[in-house]
C-alpha cells in the first residue's frame, strides 16, 4: 500500500536509528581503543591501550576460541547435514516430533545445561572437568537448531528432480549426494557453518560453567574486565576478537561463494 510521505520518512528514520543503535557499541569500542579513558566526545587519543594487552596470552586464548569454533563446526555440520536432509526429503512417522526435538536447544537456557554438565563432572568425573573435547561437544549443541533449520531450508528450495535425474543417470545415492545435492545446497551449508563457527568460537557460558582448562577469548576478556573494569585495554581485546570473527565469516563467504557462483551465474 502507499504510505503518506511523512510516514515513510518517519519509518525510514526510525529504522536507521535502530540500525545505528545496533552498530553503535562497535563504533564505541573502536573509538575507545585509541583513547586513554572512556569519555564522550572522545579526547586524549592514545594507543597506549594497544601496548598494554598481554598479546601472547591473548593470542593463546584466541587460538583456543578458533579451535573451539572450528571443531564444533565440523562436528555439528557432519551430524546436521544428513539429519536436515532426511527431515526435509523423507517421510517417516514422528517427523514433526523430531523437528520439535531438534528445536529444543534453541529455547533451552544455556545456564541450566552448563550447570547440568558442570555438576555431573564435579561429582562423578572430576578428571574430565574442563576437558577441551567435552567443552567443544557441549558448545556445538547450541548451534544445532539454527544449523538444521538453515540447511533444511536450503534443501527445501532445491528441487528433488536433480537427485532423481542423477539416480537414473547411474549415480549411486552417495555419489548423487556429493556430486549433485551438496553443490546445490552449498550456500545454505556455508551459511550454517559460519553461524555455527561464530556462535561456538564466541561462546562464554558453556566453557565458563564447565571450567574449561583452555581459556577462550570470551573468558579472557571477562577476567580482564573483572580486574580492570571496562577500560580502553579491554576495548582493544573485544575489538580485535570481533574483527577476527567477522573477518573469518566474511572470508568464508567470499572464498566459497566464488567457487559456487560460477555454477549459478
Amino acid at each position: 500500500m502507499r504510505l503518506p510521505r511523512w510516514l515513510f520518512i518517519t519509518l525510514n528514520i526510525y529504522a536507521l536509528m535502530l540500525a545505528v543503535i545496533m552498530i553503535w557499541p562497535f563504533l564505541q569500542i573502536l573509538v575507545t581503543s585509541v583513547t586513554s579513558d572512556v569519555t564522550f566526545p572522545p579526547h586524549n587519543f592514545s594507543i597506549l591501550a594497544w601496548s598494554n594487552v598481554l598479546w601472547p596470552d591473548y593470542f593463546k586464548s584466541m587460538l583456543v576460541s578458533l579451535r573451539m569454533g572450528l571443531f564444533a563446526t565440523i562436528i555439528v555440520i557432519a551430524m546436521c547435514l544428513p539429519a536436515a536432509y532426511a527431515i526435509e526429503r523423507r517421510r517417516f512417522p514422528g517427523r514433526s516430533a523430531l523437528g520439535a526435538l531438534i528445536f529444543v536447544p534453541a529455547i533451552f537456557p544455556t545456564i541450566t545445561y552448563g550447570i547440568a554438565i558442570g555438576v555431573y563432572l564435579a561429582l562423578y568425573a572430576i578428571q574430565w572437568q574442563g576437558a577441551f573435547p567435552l567443552v567443544v561437544l557441549a558448545t556445538a549443541t547450541w548451534t544445532i537448531p539454527l544449523v538444521v533449520r538453515v540447511i533444511q531450508g536450503s534443501v527445501a528450495t532445491t528441487d528433488v528432480v536433480y537427485e532423481e535425474a542423477a539416480l537414473v543417470m547411474g549415480a549411486s545415492p552417495v555419489n548423487t549426494f556429493f556430486r549433485v545435492t551438496l553443490p546445490l545446497i552449498a550456500p545454505g551449508v556455508i551459511t550454517a557453518g559460519a553461524i555455527a563457527f561464530t556462535s561456538a568460537a564466541t561462546n562464554f557460558t558453556v566453557p565458563w560453567l564447565m571450567g574449561s582448562t583452555e581459556q577462550p577469548v570470551a573468558i579472557f576478556i571477562y577476567q580482564d574486565v573483572g580486574k580492570l573494569g571496562f577500560t580502553p585495554q579491554t576495548a582493544v581485546e573485544v575489538l580485535v576478537m570481533q574483527l577476527i570473527v567477522l573477518g573469518i565469516v566474511q572470508f568464508l563467504f567470499l572464498v566459497f561463494r566464488k567457487q559456487f557462483r560460477g555454477a549459478f551465474a
Binding site: A165, L167, G170, F264, A265
Partner: protein, 373 residues
C-alpha cells in the same frame, strides 16, 4: 535398446491404488506414448519403470531382464523430466559427460560422444554454457542429450515439454520424433496432451484411473475408441443411444429408436451381437457439411437444424439438432465461414466413421452427466 514387459503391476500410495494391475508390452525401438488425464497413474507407471518408485506387486522386464527390485541407478535408462533438471552447477558439456562417466564410457570417447549428442539436439557450440545462459528449451535439449548419450536401453520422457511455451512445444515434439528416428532408441513418452501423443507416437497407451483403457496406433485410437473414456478423452464426440439391428459382412446397422434413424458402421472395428445396446459415437471433427447431392459419398447422411455457429480460429463450431438430439460439429476448410450465416436453417451432414461402444446403466449416467455439462 530393449523391449519392456510389464506384468500385473500394482503401485499403491497409502491405500489408494495408483496403478491397478497393468500388463503391457512395449516393442523394441518403438516410440510409445502413455496418454491420460492428470492423476491417471501414467507418471507413476513411468517412475516404476525408472526405478524411482518400487511397485508393490507385479514385475517389470527390460530386455527380458527382471528389474522389478533393481535400484534406479543400476538400470541402464535415460530420463527427461517435467521440471528443468539440467544440473545448474555444471555446463552443458559436463552434464552430458558426467552421465557417460557414470556408465563407464572409455575416457577418450567422451568428448567425441558429447559433441555428437549436442549436435543431435542442435546445441553445437554451446558446450561451455551453464543453465543460466541457456533458454528453457535449450536446457531441456541438454537433458535429452544427457539422457541419450550413454545409449540407454530405454528413454523415458515424463511430460518433457509441459514447462515450455506452446510454440516451442510444437517445435520440440517434432525434434523428439526426429531424434527417435535417428537413434532408434525405445522411447516412452508420458503426456496429457493428445496432440503430442498422436503426432509422434507409433503406439499409444491410453490410461485412465490406473488402468490401460486402450492400446493401439494413433489413428486406431482416434478413429476407433473402444471405451467411453477413450471416446470422451480424445477429441469431441457426440453420443447417441442405439441398438444393433442388423449385422452384415460389410456393415452393421444401428437403430437410434428415439430419433427413428438408422446408422451404418464398419463391422471390423469391434464384435457386436444382434440386439446389443450401444453408443453411436460421432466425432465432431469427422462430420462433414455437404451439399445434398453429395450424399452418395457418405455411408450416413442426416439433416441438422443449426442453433448456433461460432468461430474459433481454425474451425467453426456448429451446434444443432438432429431431430431432438443435440449435436456438435467442427467444420474446417475454406468454406467454413459460410456456416456462420446458417443459424436457424437446416444443413445436410455426412459421416462415414462411426464408432460403437457398449451401453449400459452406468454409461447412461456418465453420458447424461457429460451432456449436461
Amino acid at each position: 535398446m530393449a523391449n519392456v514387459r510389464i506384468q500385473n503391476l500394482v503401485k499403491r500410495y497409502e491405500s489408494v491404488m495408483a496403478v491397478k494391475r497393468v500388463s503391457v508390452e512395449i516393442r523394441e525401438g518403438s516410440l510409445t506414448a502413455i496418454l491420460g488425464p492428470s492423476g491417471c497413474g501414467k507418471t507413476t507407471l513411468l517412475r516404476c519403470i525408472a526405478g524411482l518408485l518400487m511397485p508393490e506387486e507385479g514385475q517389470i522386464f527390460i530386455g527380458n531382464k527382471d528389474v522389478t527390485r533393481l535400484e534406479a541407478h543400476k538400470r541402464n535408462l535415460g530420463m527427461v523430466f517435467q521440471r528443468p533438471s539440467m544440473f545448474p552447477h555444471m555446463t552443458a558439456y559436463e552434464n552430458v559427460a558426467w552421465g557417460l562417466r557414470l556408465r563407464n564410457w572409455p575416457k577418450n570417447d567422451i568428448p567425441r560422444r558429447v559433441s555428437e549428442m549436442l549436435r543431435l539436439v542442435h546445441l553445437e557450440g554451446m558446450e561451455k554454457r551453464a543453465f543460466r545462459q541457456l533458454s528453457g528449451g535449450q536446457a531441456q535439449r541438454v537433458v535429452i542429450a544427457r539422457a541419450l548419450a550413454p545409449a540407454p536401453d530405454l528413454l523415458l520422457l515424463d511430460e518433457p515439454l509441459s514447462a515450455l511455451d506452446a510454440k516451442l512445444r510444437d517445435e520440440l515434439i517434432l525434434e523428439i520424433a526426429d531424434i527417435h528416428r535417428q537413434t532408434n532408441c525405445t522411447t516412452l513418452l508420458v503426456t496429457h496432451d493428445q496432440g503430442e501423443a498422436l503426432t509422434i507416437a507409433d503406439n499409444v497407451l491410453l490410461m485412465n484411473d490406473g488402468n490401460i483403457e486402450q492400446e493401439g496406433a494413433p489413428l486406431d485410437i482416434y478413429r476407433n475408441p473402444r471405451t467411453l473414456f477413450s471416446a470422451t478423452f480424445i477429441g469431441t464426440n457426440n453420443f447417441l443411444p442405439g441398438v444393433v439391428k442388423e449385422i452384415h459382412d460389410d456393415q452393421v446397422l444401428i437403430e437410434v429408436a428415439s430419433l427413428g434413424v438408422i446408422f451404418k458402421a464398419d463391422p471390423r472395428t469391434a464384435n457386436y451381437h444382434y440386439g446389443q445396446t450401444v453408443w453411436v459415437c460421432m466425432r465432431a471433427d469427422d462430420i462433414d457439411v455437404i451439399a445434398p447431392d453429395q450424399s452418395s459419398d457418405y455411408e450416413n447422411t442426416f439433416s441438422v437444424h443449426v442453433d448456433r455457429a461460432s468461430l474459433t480460429g481454425g474451425f467453426v463450431i456448429v451446434e444443432g439438432k438432429l431431430k431432438e438430439q443435440t449435436l456438435r460439429i467442427h467444420v474446417g476448410g475454406g468454406r467454413r465461414f459460410e456456416l456462420l450465416e446458417t443459424v436457424g436453417q437446416t444443413i445436410t451432414c455426412g459421416l462415414s466413421n462411426i464408432a460403437l461402444i457398449p451401453r449400459d446403466e452406468t454409461s447412461n449416467a456418465a453420458v447424461s452427466s457429460l451432456q449436461a455439462s
